[in-house]
Subunit: 223 residues, 2 copies
DNA sequence: TATGAAATACATGTCGGACGATCTTGGTGA
DNA sequence: TCACCAAGATCGTCCGACATGTATTTCATA
């Protein structure tokens, strides 16, 4: 009698994990919100153990913070944390872009980059926050995959870009067209195989993004 | 009756976690070795839940790999993985060194750097593998702490430097004195407040380390 | 003797319940 | 008003059970 689990490909913790990340993007969860284990157990219909495992994975990635004997909370970045994160992302994305450029001629890399990029440039996609966010994530993920540095791939998801995105979604951070141009510059440098140039372009993009966030009012940040 | 847990500062999972990392350095565990949950439960006298949590933390940091329905295994790096890791460390350590240099004049930073560095330079410490490993970890940790980028601090431990160290312990990788000189160069640049220089020195050190590892025989790697 | 499939052993994935520890909150008395 | 204590909320941890999947051994058969 399998009244018990109908194991997903990734298992129960994965269900919870993805459910929360997805809920974040959909606005079901917002930064600062508490995540009580018992509630999640009920909502996702899994054991508390699985919930706890999902939470600790999220905590490891910095998406939630777990305070001892107090419920987990969706993390809300302070000004300093955002600055730190952006500085780190500048370095990492620069590295990723450089690697991708250096390996653009191997296997199906070029095609993959161009395919995901073309989705990103689709006018219809750009108009839908959710679809665009997904397309952008895919593009970045492809960039990392093409770079083929497994350790970087292991580390990247643990930089809470998702959090950044969600936290500042309400604010029109960068002027749309400028952002698109940034992506194009990165893409062009990569397919051109120009490592140095790709690195610079990626870094510049992140820096611009950081600058625009600096200008936001305090209300956009935590404590 | 508290026959139950005598909660450590960090809790049962922490005990297991530290026990394993420590066991790694002490040679109790070696790369490739299987970690059976039941055994760990017995050895550390904690519940299986705690063991599992410790294992997933270790897996998140890349120290062990967990295959579905098969026991966890202490990770053994292949040549490619080592190359990838070294390349990433070069970027990250360079970043850390630069930040540290830029902030050397704030608070007690200078003193902290010099203190931990002097331990590293102690002749007696250098002769003891375990003590030296600890001193080096402390120095790097201090460097990151001084740099004061919280996100970097969050990411760094997740780069399995420990694994690198242990896996190649048997081989005399770099000539001792050269290595010491590298550290000195990094230190000097940092206390000098020369960000660029510190970054270059740190990167150069990692690259030299990587080069020396490239020369090792296949037996030192997995698959 | 070689071989392939079934039976078995082993270990993990997940659930549910239980209980102590600790933080928060709200009420109570000086 | 304020220190203090009781109650509630939640987490940290342990235990036992069973399903699920992998590895190994056994054994009938060619």
């Amino acid at each position: 009698m399998t009244k018990h689990q109908a194991v997903q490909a990734d298992g129960s913790p994965g269900v919870v994990y993805r459910g929360i990340v997805d809920g974040l993007y959909r606005g079901r969860y917002v930064p600062g919100q508490r995540l009580v284990e018992a509630d999640l157990t009920r909502d996702f219909e899994v054991g508390r153990g699985s919930v706890r495992e999902a939470l600790s994975r999220l905590a490891a990635e910095g998406l939630v913070t777990m305070n001892l004997h107090r419920s987990a909370v969706i993390r809300q970045l302070s000004r300093t944390e955002v600055r730190d994160l952006v500085a780190l992302l500048e370095v990492l994305n620069g590295f990723a872009a450089r690697l991708a450029a250096e390996r653009i001629d191997e296997g199906a890399n070029r095609k993959q980059i161009e395919d995901t990029f073309s989705v990103l440039m689709d006018g219809e996609v750009q108009r839908d926050f959710l679809r665009f966010a997904r397309a952008r994530n895919t593009f970045y993920r492809t960039m990392v995959a093409v770079g083929a540095n497994h350790e970087l791939a292991r580390i990247m998801p643990r930089t809470n870009v998702d959090l950044l995105r969600v936290q500042f979604r309400a604010y029109q951070t960068v002027d749309e067209s400028a952002r698109i141009e940034d992506y194009r510059a990165i893409h062009d440098a990569i397919v051109e195989g120009a490592g140095r140039k790709a690195e610079t372009a990626a870094k510049a993009h992140i820096r611009r993004f950081g600058d625009s966030i600096e200008k936001l009012p305090d209300a956009a940040f935590s404590g």
